[in-house]
Amino acid sequence: MILLAASNAVHGQGIPIQAFNLILLLLLVITAVISLRVRDLLSAAMVYGIYSFLICLLWCQMGAVDVAFTEAAVGAGVSAVFLIATVYNTKRKSSD
């Protein structure tokens, strides 16, 4: 994949779109697993925000810009803040 990117850079294009999709999807799965497995609930809320941003990028790539706008506004602006506010008012250590 590195050779593919290098050959495209020589020809003046960017990284091919399938590689972009693959990297994003891989990061999506990794952040989803992390956000479920980590013990500290505050970190889990933050990783959930990262997940939200990654899926927003995927939707942008697919051309669904309205959905990506909504996801960016709700995921980063509102939903992560709600989760962090809830974690501050309950306990911070996950019980499982």
Partner: protein, 267 residues
């Protein structure tokens, strides 16, 4: 037990991956979503029916406006549910007389460590709110619309509450006010639908609003086709309703969650 759960998750995951192989190619013109005649009708007729280039907003606010109205009602109901569950007034809060609040030292923004954030936020919040109004008003031509503009507006109030105290922000956007504004948005949306019904056509059938728009307004703006103009601007009005409700409920949920229902002191 966790072993069986893991097996179940693995089986469903493999099933999903094998189902994805059967999807049509991305952007295929013969895929079922594209070949369906209603999709073709939306794509070709939106601009001529409603004078709105953004097909997503047109479908959301006009062709499927009934669903968007209930989506707004769901947001309002969610806010009401959180209010009903969390809102408490403890006995020590109720009996707190005026001199206690006079003696209480307000955390001022010139405390060390907060002045940078406070100044930055004070410069940014007007820009954020202006941007949210832009997103709302430009939803006909660019990505955006009522819901996105409302969320950004609510997030600007949340930012204000994060930087300064929650009671300071509640002085600007008090509890009775945010509940009233939450209901006002739905009133605007359903009210436009009812006006359409009183004028003789179906609920939320915007084209009939052409009758209430005076003729001089149409000649001032140089509009030839009244029904499409009425539809485009009724869409803007219902998007304003959605934005008002969403903004107030987002701030309401934050205020209730961060202060544990008491609305005394936040994060």
């Amino acid at each position: 037990m966790r072993f069986f759960a893991f097996i179940a998750v693995l089986a469903v995951g493999l099933l999903l991956v094998s189902a994805v192989q059967e999807f049509p190619k991305f952007g295929d013109v013969n895929s079922p979503a594209n070949a369906y005649e209603l999709s073709q009708e939306f794509i070709t007729k939106t601009e001529t029916d409603t004078m709105v280039p953004n097909i997503v907003t047109a479908v959301l606010a006009d062709y499927r406006g009934y669903d968007t109205m209930f989506e707004t009602v769901v947001v309002f109901t969610g806010g009401l549910a959180i209010f009903a569950i969390l809102r408490t007034t403890r006995r020590e809060d109720r009996s707190e007389p005026a001199e206690a609040s006079r003696d209480r030292v307000e955390p001022s923004a010139t405390d060390s460590g907060r002045i940078i954030v406070a100044t930055t936020v004070r410069l940014m919040v007007p820009v954020i709110q202006l941007f949210s109004l832009y997103v709302l008003a430009h939803g006909h031509h660019s990505p955006g619309g009522g819901f996105q503009g409302g969320v950004i507006l609510g997030a600007s109030f949340i930012l204000l509450a994060l930087v300064s105290d929650l009671p300071t922000t509640l002085k600007r956007f008090s509890e009775s006010r945010f509940l009233a504004f939450g209901a006002l948005g739905i009133l605007i949306y359903a009210g436009i639908g009812l006006i359409c019904m009183f004028l003789g056509k179906n609920f939320l059938d915007y084209a009939v609003l052409d009758k209430v728009i005076p003729d001089w307004m149409e000649s001032v703006f140089g509009v030839t086709s009244g029904a499409e103009w009425a539809r485009s601007h009724a869409m803007l009005a219902v998007e304003v309703g959605v934005a008002i409700t969403v903004a107030s409920i987002m701030f309401a949920i934050y205020a209730l969650l961060s202060s544990n229902g008491r609305l005394r002191d936040g994060l």
